[in-house]
Symmetry: C2
Amino acid sequence: MAQPPASKPKVVDVHTHMYPPEYIQILESRSTIPLVRSFPGATDPRLILLDAEVPALDAALSSGPDPPSVLPGRPLTRHFASVSQKLHFMDTHGIDISIVSLANPWLDFLPPATAGPVATSINTSFSTMCATHPGRLYFFAALPLTAPRETILAAIAHAAALPHCRGVILGTSGLGAGLDDPLLLPILASLAAASLPIFLHPHYGLPNAVFGPRAAGEYGHVLSLAIGFPVETTIAVARMYLAGVFDAVPALRMLLAHSGGCLPFLAGRIESCIIHDGHLAAQGKTASPPRRTVWEVLREQVYLDAVIYSEVGLKAAVQAAGEDGAGRVMFGTDHPFFPPVGGGEGKEDGVWESVGLNSLAVERAFGAGTSGAKGVMGGNAVEVFRLFGE
Amino acid sequence: MAQPPASKPKVVDVHTHMYPPEYIQILESRSTIPLVRSFPGATDPRLILLDAEVPALDAALSSGPDPPSVLPGRPLTRHFASVSQKLHFMDTHGIDISIVSLANPWLDFLPPATAGPVATSINTSFSTMCATHPGRLYFFAALPLTAPRETILAAIAHAAALPHCRGVILGTSGLGAGLDDPLLLPILASLAAASLPIFLHPHYGLPNAVFGPRAAGEYGHVLSLAIGFPVETTIAVARMYLAGVFDAVPALRMLLAHSGGCLPFLAGRIESCIIHDGHLAAQGKTASPPRRTVWEVLREQVYLDAVIYSEVGLKAAVQAAGEDGAGRVMFGTDHPFFPPVGGGEGKEDGVWESVGLNSLAVERAFGAGTSGAKGVMGGNAVEVFRLFGE
């Protein structure tokens, strides 16, 4: 009997951001980071998000009517808010489906009273946008974590009922005290009960001081983005693990940005340090059920994106994710960050090197067209996030 | 023609520490960390090194004549200063040769006037100890980095002339401003000229605040040791790279503790962040010679130890080290840290789980008895550090 022709494997981007227009308006109204500001001589307004960008912001604001010599942050191009630009980017790179998420720092900075209504508005916007392009766009909802608990729980219920919502995006601050905060447990339990995985994404990095006196002036954002961000994710998940959060909410599922930060590489050392701490080792054994290893939690409750820019890291991510590790790792682009090298608006409509680095890593790690590569490039995301075209 | 019988491959430990008695005396005389203190009810004095251990130290010191409920730091057993104990540990684990180094924080805390004489004394002690066990012990010298430049340069000359010295152990603080401090360049150049590789080891970790409010009370030293330490190493080397130190001192060779911290996993992201930073990318191209990639520096000037406690991390370390990566990675134990699980003095004379985790990782990554495994377990160190039995 003839088999039906195999459908072309889907390419899915699980790590791709947008700032809807109403979110940009909020950023434009602010005087402290995160904020959006225009400067004379710059084509696009500037998006300033990170502590590390504050010195350049201060310098630019004090330069008076002349164009500042160094612009703070990054250009807020039309890539950040335009759905047609998102679709153009997807088409250019052969991406069939994107699970779009609000970029950092999400709603973490909003006053408690406005966080709830803004979440409703932004998640509704995302849902409407996805419905307009059926089968191509899904989204991770944003949560109003500064609002009272009831407001957060209501936002989870609202998001869960939106047909294109496939999870929530979360930073590492939780309710303000991190993801090992016991007060966060009911929120995590509610997400698990609603079958909404968490896409965990860094924003706060590490204190500038750890990068030394030369970083701010000479190293751009390299250290805060390339090391601060992944380490933030690693610490957040390690804290959750040590606090027993994964055991307390066994139905919780998390997708970790940037292939888990450094978690795949450091998991062995974390596990060894726990084994060699008499108190923690005893505690893990007497817990009921006994505490699982870091590896077990990685393999049972954690997914990793493939935004790692090298096959060395990607292979470690896949191996850390276990025997079927290739099934737990998923391609992403981080669009609209890391735009084409050399800049220029026209260039942004073309091919992005940052995307190429990540798809090349998949090809090198698995071989082009292998089932492993197809899974990482899209098949895994289709299954895990139920991207069946509705 | 009959081949001569292949000599049994050597097992070499490149990451193994000691505190000579005169160093312990210095620690016993101190009232701030690092220090050694005895407490009622504890068999061994306690070694207290880390910022993260200060709260437990303060609590123990304020408990009066009663034994404190939680002892700060770790027991200073006879493993820390006794050469016979070191040899017993080596024999127990089939280690033929150890390159011993002073453990952190080395001489970083000494006043400028005493650092020089202490370095001379300690390096001479190590040298004498190695000479007493020819072919079994070599050492990495300690440098008096708080002393005037001439004193440091004299210490390098002194160390280079000691017959069993095979490099120097260095922390990440340099002269106080990190390893990207231009004032450190003459020191690094002097080490390179003397063919003394640097064994780079962490000590300062990350500020406690990044581990959140529960870390100090509940998570032992896990986060500071398992994440803070490797991240410190990663940041230090990234700063050196960005500052052009490897290009400025091309003969410099570094052995990075704990398989490079997170460097093998994050190298792709670091490289991508540099490529996508217009200013840094341009600067790298116009430099003469053009800046090498992070990968090239890893493969030309860097060695990694294999103290990573999992084959996932070990494979990434080997792959990051390049085509001949297995030739740049070297077994280590971190003895006398991470003693046998469950503690007890008798147990410390037996087999250490921490050693088993690292040798098992080599076996799993390469296959037992393969040339790759033999190289990592000792052959590489014999070649790189010229451990030919003199």
